[in-house]
């Protein structure tokens, strides 16, 4: 069981949250100009790193707000929690081969 620290409510059990996949996937500027392949890339293709991963969570049983978490996919260790208005923290990424993505 993960214990996630909601930016507004504090530490709550994982069962109060829902997972929202990879964070920082921007909506295309001009969706109508995308090829089918580019659209499919945007809709369906996500990173699958072995290590720190920035992902979205929503506190669905609490304040119902979305926020971002950097979680190490190997250890499930939560490295950072931040809101949409915060920049992505450098925590964890710099130590990886290739650096931040």
């Amino acid at each position: 069981m993960l214990l996630l620290n909601c930016p507004w409510c504090g530490p709550r059990d994982e069962t109060e949250y829902h997972y929202g996949g990879q964070a920082h996937v921007p909506y295309p500027e001009e969706p109508s100009t995308l090829t089918d392949e580019e659209w499919a890339e945007y809709l369906f293709f996500r990173d699958n790193p072995c290590g720190p991963f920035a992902e979205r969570w929503v506190h669905s049983a609490g304040c119902r707000r979305w926020f971002n978490v950097v979680r190490d996919t190997r250890t499930y260790q939560v490295l950072a929690v931040y809101t949409h208005s915060d920049p992505r923290p450098a925590v964890g990424f710099g130590a990886q081969a290739g650096g931040p993505r």
Binding site: C6, W8, C9, G10, R12, D13, T15, E16, S60, A61, G62, C63, R64, R65
Partner: protein, 204 residues
């Protein structure tokens, strides 16, 4: 026109007898009761805006600014639901309070909605109350972490509800009306064992 409030039927009307009979006696006594028909108004507004100040003016109380905080004035209690979302639980008639609040916010970017039928209120009270809730609530209710006057949105027995501590041994639970029967039956079942004289010695 007839007073329609006379025809109201609470979500747990059918369980009133079972809740009364389910009261547990003894050293860890605990009882469950429904306190139906509270006025509940949902408010969404930017907390720093003039509209928020107008709402606070009507209520005579500040909108809570952090998770768990409850403010109160007169017949109104204001619960924090999110950074821009609150629930007013009140004894004022729904149309009166809703009307006063919508007049106060005017055309501002805000939402004031009468959600009185959305939830009902269950009161669980007695020295055994915390033990009952701890069987199915992920929030730490120990006095070191929770206290009288706090209210949080969480889950009990896997369903979402609002939980408030209103006295040293008294908690109010506000489940959605459609979940109320499940929550009440779950609580009645969880209460049963406290009637036993057995003490496990680890109670804190």
């Amino acid at each position: 026109m007839d007073d329609l409030t006379l025809q109201r039927r609470s979500p747990l009307a059918d369980l009133a007898d079972r809740m009364r009979d389910g009261a547990v006696t003894g050293s860890r006594h605990v009882r469950l009761a429904e306190l139906p028909f509270w006025t509940m108004i949902s408010v969404r507004v930017d907390p720093g805006s003039p509209a928020a100040a107008a709402v606070e003016g009507v209520l005579g109380a500040d909108l809570p600014r952090w998770c768990g905080q409850v403010t109160a004035h007169g017949l109104d209690h204001v619960l924090w639901l999110g950074p821009d979302e609150w629930l007013i639980v009140s004894e004022v008639a729904p149309s009166d309070l809703h009307g006063a609040l919508t007049d106060a916010v005017g055309e501002a970017h805000a939402a004031v909605v009468d959600v009185s039928a959305n939830r009902t209120l269950l009161e669980l009270s007695g020295p055994g109350a915390r033990s009952v809730l701890e069987k199915g609530c992920p929030v730490d209710l120990h006095p070191r972490a929770f206290e009288v006057g706090r209210a949080v949105s969480t889950t009990l027995a896997r369903v979402p509800l609002l939980l408030c501590q209103t006295g040293p041994d008294t908690y109010c639970l506000l489940p959605r009306s459609s979940f109320a029967q499940y929550v009440a039956c779950w609580l009645l079942d969880a209460m049963q064992e406290l009637g036993s004289d057995f003490q496990d010695g680890s109670a804190s």
